[in-house]
Subunit: 410 residues, 2 copies
């Protein structure tokens, strides 16, 4: 029986460990692989020979898979390592496949985003051209939701739930004062506006926040934003604006105050779109403004994970095992939405070479004509992805996550 | 039977509506008051004659009290209004007590922080000196935990739970890369360090984050912070530092980069302690640094409220009703810890004149000698306050809060 090496890469999400959990759970049922090795810190764990025996971890702790599913970021750690081409560094490939042989590996699964899919593409091409009997399979994740050939990416639904919940809570916080104000909330997504768009899910029968939404897919016009806000203030006391961190003007310059600012010690100071608009809108409108940057919590707040997201991520992991059994390689596991109401998806895979270097931006018909809001089509797309609350366990009042002390050893 | 007017003031917390819910629930049992009027936007709702009939709301919707308990910020809105002294503006007092008379009011309850307790003090003194038969009672709240004559303040426990959960999740997010880094997390509390201290609750058997904690009670020495961090980096790859937004140097200057910075348009830009330390520590240590400002969510994230906090807030509201029955006036309802293990509190009240203009800072023996951490005494004090998860209801994947459309009407 062959073994499996699995690794995680790229930026954290709330669902990336759920995909790993899905692989482990499926293998418990199917007994496809003998040992599942977790490579620490992405693919660098292979060449550094740093592995965790995950099969052993599963057998020693009954709760391991469930806790793993609910733990944020990467249980196996990540890396920032661009895999060279074979022409650049043939030795790298020889080393990796040497380890595959030593460990009697039948497959390598890489859970990650765009860059990781590029690694999957390169390794699978190498295996093919050198007749190596190792199947290379990618399992997607990214809060940015910008991968092609998949309806939406694991991790996005939970980030969307965090963003929408935050906007709703900020709205309650904002509505208490009987005076005109503008609150600008900055959301992650430098090139794709999906996560900023998810702020629209916060709207309900009493709150229309966010009242304006600006995505990076459309050039940001400061004057238009000022006049949009002014107009709203005629009928609405507290205007809440959602902006992507990546909004740019028509010349492609980021809307931020990062240039030419130094403090008294000569340190360059960075400041994002929300802080910038807080200052400019205060000057132009003469009312209270407040910039809020939703921080790292967007991608690591497991305490408010979407159950739909975690379950789908588990299923994608399980599907990787069954696609291995079908002999697939050089593919990314994906999901296809077959129906929105009721919400239904099917699982499969797609050649990774068509995914690795492409980006899925928000399409035109998901953004309104004025470029300051999303359309109903976007809302229909987003709604099912945040449904359900993860079954989080607590200990001493805090979420009880899996011990990651192995990441802290030198 | 007399009626009650109740109002809320100051900054939002997650528990301020729970105290209101506690009053309503208790009155359902005790029938102490005929009608309970909610004054909109603090005390200004009295002079503006803007009221909600809360007795009616309770009788019309069985779920009202429970939903109110779990809704963030102020259901009745807040105000920024400093109550004048009688000498400054006797008319104000006459107007307020005129409304009390019109509405056959036996008591006014004000839920708020320090400033609101000052209002309670002034109104009760006026009632006494003018022989008005209206009892004025304060119900405390503040995430800052800086009121005296109370073991801890409602709203603090939930904010502490949010802060500790966030630090734990940020730690998971940070540990994934195998490279040296410093993350600085800025936490609310300009003058009192209680909430920043609560970050220490995030520590567990595998994570020592935050590795350093700086409170506003001790002068902040930048060189000491740099050397503290350097020393830690010898044994720890990823150092996480919790700082209060209010840290100041020995001369009382805030550690922030708010001075002398303007963008290209001449706008003054503000930047807090975390952003400042991100820049300085990066320069001094030459490694990756990241500043994270925990934002407004600290005080409005009902989705991660502490059950202990919400239940105690309900009990404080209920106690206000029974203290009214006992004839108390010019008091703030409080709680006293009678035991930490097992955790037990009793409810009572204290003369508000001894509370209104005092501040409870973190005592010396709750901070370590080096001034870069808290002591076990602090941890013992904090631990019980975050226990239990609020029974939050969800609808369409988002927390289901009470409709606050009455706050949005002009």
């Amino acid at each position: 029986m062959k073994n499996l090496i699995i690794a995680q890469s790229g930026g954290p999400t709330v669902a990336i460990n759920a995909s790993l959990a899905g692989v482990l759970k499926q293998n418990k049922i199917s007994n496809t692989f003998g040992t599942i090795y977790g490579s620490l810190n992405g693919i660098t764990g292979i060449t550094n020979r740093k592995f965790l025996d995950l099969t052993k971890a599963v057998s020693e702790d009954e709760a391991f898979i469930d806790k793993l599913k609910n733990t944020p970021a990467m249980f196996l750690g990540s890396c920032r390592f661009r895999v060279p081409t074979e022409a650049e560094n043939p030795q790298f490939y020889e080393d990796v496949f040497q380890v595959f042989e030593e460990k009697n590996v039948g497959a390598f699964f890489y859970i990650g985003g765009n860059d990781s899919m590029d690694t999957v593409d390169k390794l699978s091409a190498y295996a093919k051209s050198h007749n190596k009997d190792v199947q290379i399979i990618g399992i997607p994740k990214t809060i940015d939701n910008d991968l092609v050939h998949i309806d939406h990416t694991p991790g996005f639904g939970s980030a969307a739930k965090y963003v929408a919940t935050s906007i709703l809570e900020i709205a309650h916080d904002t509505y208490i004062y009987h005076l005109k104000s503008v609150t600008i909330v900055e959301i992650m997504g430098r090139d794709a506006g999906w996560l900023t768009a998810a702020s629209a899910l916060a709207r309900n029968e009493y709150s229309k926040a966010p009242h304006l939404i600006y995505l990076p897919e459309k050039p940001f016009d400061l004057n238009q934003c000022i006049s949009d806000t002014k107009k709203l203030l005629e009928t609405t006391e507290n205007v809440i604006i959602a902006v992507s961190e990546g909004i740019r003007d028509k010349d492609g310059n980021y809307i931020s105050a990062s240039e030419a600012k130094t403090d008294n010690f000569g340190h360059a100071m960075l400041s994002g779109a929300a802080k910038y608009l807080e200052t400019v809108l205060h000057e132009k409108l003469g009312i209270k403004t407040r910039g809020i940057e939703l921080n790292t919590l967007q991608r690591c707040a497991s305490h408010i994970a979407s159950e739909t997201d975690l379950n789908e991520s588990m299923n994608l992991g399980a599907t990787a095992v069954s696609m291995y059994e079908k002999g697939e390689t050089g593919v990314m596991i994906n999901l296809t939405r077959t129906s929105s109401t009721p919400y239904e998806v099917t699982y499969g895979c797609h050649p990774v070479c068509e995914i690795a270097n492409a980006v899925k931006s928000v399409p035109d018909d998901f953004i309104n004509e004025e470029g300051n809001d999303v359309t109903d089509k976007m809302l229909e797309y987003l709604k099912p992805l945040i449904i359900g609350e993860a079954d989080q366990h607590y200990k001493n009042g805090l979420p009880s996550y899996l011990n990651v002390s192995h990441l802290l050893e030198n």
